[in-house]
């Protein structure tokens, strides 16, 4: 076997082990700490004990959503960076979070969630995100051919319009609604609706599988759009489909878990530093490490000022940012050594 493939296998195994470990950690810590072995004992017994209720009603759903949202946001980020060949692009750059927030703010301000039920929030969030994606897509593919740079700018502009409109709503609404909007925007893995969690989890894994159908075009795009064409890649279709896949995925995540920032930006970069830019390992690697990162961030958010809970977006931003800066300074020292 090629040494490259062996290296990938080791990385993959390592990430799976880390994921299992962080799942166990997340299940065991909280207001009531459980030993690792207790987790299995309690879950197997399945009785009506308090431990069982805490695990099955609170912690397991959180972990499942963490795996799904962390993986999906990170995958979405790595796909968009591949398509745009721009390291600063993340799922929210193109206005997906702005659109979803606008949808949710709309629902809260007009009291839709009290009128119809709480499921209105994710539905409105996703509709908002979808509207933005649709706008960016149609505006930038109007001329038949997609221009990547103008698409990016279109996305950024529409994002500004969406977030400004949301601020307009926030400015004219009551303090109570304002609190609801801000709380939602900060993001959380707390989702009472189990079926939404299942849908997100299934969509996340399905997208990972689908993204692997584009692994060769993504690798070819590393050379640039024109050179990918020279290698026989239909770049227009690839870019369109991957844009839709990545942004719908991010839209679902935002609708379910709110705006959890930085995962889609930091994790793909961290993985690029660790495993290189070959999308064959990068896609699954980013997915798994996104899941790990979000689960661990959730653990910190839940425990650091227990019994209160911090917004998870705060943790992902601070912890993720610091870890990334450390990694980057270490790797630049490393590459300096290599060149010298």
């Amino acid at each position: 076997m090629q040494s490259k493939y062996l290296k990938w296998l080791i990385i993959l195994a390592g990430l799976v082990v880390l994921l299992v470990a962080s799942v166990l950690l997340s299940l065991s810590v909280g207001e009531m700490n459980l030993g690792f072995l207790d987790i299995f004992r309690v879950l197997r017994k399945g009785n009506e004990s308090m431990e069982y209720t805490i695990l099955s009603q609170i912690r397991v759903p959180r972990v499942m959503l963490g795996i799904a949202v962390g993986g999906a946001l990170s995958l979405s980020g790595v796909l968009l960076q591949g398509v745009y060949r721009n390291p600063l692009v993340e799922p929210y750059t193109l206005g997906i979070s702005g659109g979803a927030s606008l949808g949710v703010a709309f629902a809260i301000v007009f009291g839709l969630h009290q009128l119809v039920g709480s499921f209105v929030l994710p539905v409105c969030g996703f509709s908002g995100a979808f509207l933005i994606i649709f706008l960016v897509y149609t505006i930038s593919s109007r001329s038949g051919r997609i221009n990547i740079q103008s698409m990016l700018l279109t996305g950024v502009m529409i994002s500004f319009i969406a977030s400004s409109s949301m601020m307009l709503l926030m400015a004219i609404t009551s303090a109570e609604n304002l609190h609801g909007i801000i709380f939602w925007i900060m993001g959380s893995l707390d989702e009472p609706d189990m079926s939404l969690i299942y849908i997100t989890l299934i969509l996340a894994f399905a997208s990972l599988v689908v993204s692997y159908l584009f692994v060769q075009p993504l690798n070819a795009l590393r050379l640039g759009e024109e050179k990918a064409k020279h290698l026989g890649i239909n770049t227009d279709t690839t870019i369109k489909l991957l844009f839709l896949l990545a942004s719908l995925l991010a839209g679902v995540c935002v609708a379910v878990a709110g705006v959890i920032g930085f995962v889609g930006l930091i994790i793909p970069h961290l993985m690029r530093l660790l495993v290189g830019s070959d999308y064959r390992i990068l896609l699954v690697g980013s997915f798994l490490s996104g899941s790990i990162f979000l689960i661990l961030s959730d653990v910190i958010a839940r425990t650091i000022i227990s019994p209160n809970e911090l917004p998870i977006g705060v943790i992902t931003g601070i912890v993720g940012g610091i870890v990334f800066l450390l990694m980057m300074s270490r790797s630049s020292v490393h590459s300096l050594k290599n060149n010298g």
Binding site: Y212, Q216, A220, E226, K229, H230, L231, I233
Partner: protein, 276 residues
């Protein structure tokens, strides 16, 4: 069977402000052909039409017997490989970069390169003398070495026709000659047909067996270097005074410049003589 590897008939294509028109070119199999012409004459546009990145308005381009338009992008990439002027492969190892040339042969579901892919890539890295860099990053290589790796990548596509866009620009004379020698060797030993855009008229003359001189969106003239590189053609197209003379070593035409200072001195000398 069409003996031409590339046959362009009445091609018309371009952009709103710049058009190529009435382009007719035949390039026999096994040729080493060069496209020359001033900046903005349409060399790159013609090149982009052949590579398929620019759509054709009228006329057709035949690759052997196949109409280029009817080929899928994948099949086209199996038949034509392109070495672009700028190679931006960044953090990729040289071997990974060269292996990209196998992409036109992979199915959507093939995930790992086969032993065959690796051995083909190694063979062409050896041929271009880049095998020794194979674990290095592309960004660590010099311009000339990157160009060689790009040629190895193109060969790994196992094309019928190799297209190069100014492969020797930005390179010093050692690397220019080295790259062209490698191409010449490939052309003669493997019978690979080569078509390149090249600025340097003397290099074009030494290495190419056919030249196509493009000017103002049209083909000014084409043929052997002796037919194309006459002082009349060059002065007319490039608006520069030159002298052409056979290179004493190869017998191919060589182009010598007459700068305005030299021309002035000659004129003064002539005037002096007349006065005397």
């Amino acid at each position: 069977m069409n003996p031409d590897i590339l046959n362009i008939q009445n091609l018309c294509c371009g952009y709103p402000k710049f058009q190529l028109s009435a382009i007719n070119i035949d390039i026999p199999k096994g040729s080493f052909a060069g496209i020359i012409g001033p900046n903005g004459s349409g060399k790159t546009t013609l090149f982009r039409a052949i590579t398929g990145t620019l759509s054709i308005k009228s006329g057709k381009i035949l690759l052997g017997d196949k109409n280029l338009k009817s080929l899928s992008p994948r099949l086209r990439a199996q038949n034509i490989a392109i070495v672009s002027q700028f190679i931006d492969a960044g953090d990729m190892s040289v071997e990974d970069y060269v292996l990209m040339g196998r992409i036109p042969y992979h199915s959507r579901f093939s995930f790992f390169e086969s032993e065959e892919d690796f051995s083909i890539a190694r063979k062409y890295m050896e041929m271009t003398d880049t095998l020794r860099f194979r674990d290095q990053l592309m960004s660590e290589l010099s311009g000339g070495e990157q160009q060689l790796a790009a040629i190895a990548r193109a060969l790994t596509q196992q094309p019928e026709l190799l297209l190069l866009d100014e492969p020797t620009s930005h390179l010093d004379i050692t690397h220019q000659v080295h790259i062209l020698n490698v191409l010449q060797q490939l052309n003669q030993e493997m019978g690979l047909s080569v078509l390149m855009v090249i600025h340097d008229l003397n290099l074009a003359s030494e290495y190419c067996d056919r030249l196509i001189l493009v000017n103002q969106g049209k083909i000014y003239t084409q043929g052997t270097p002796e037919e194309v590189l006459t002082f009349k053609h060059i002065e007319d197209v490039y608006q520069t005074v030159v002298v052409t003379q056979a290179n004493p070593l190869s017998g191919k035409p060589a182009v010598f410049l007459a700068t305005s200072k030299v021309l002035k001195e000659i004129q003064e000398k002539l005037a002096d003589k007349q006065e005397k």
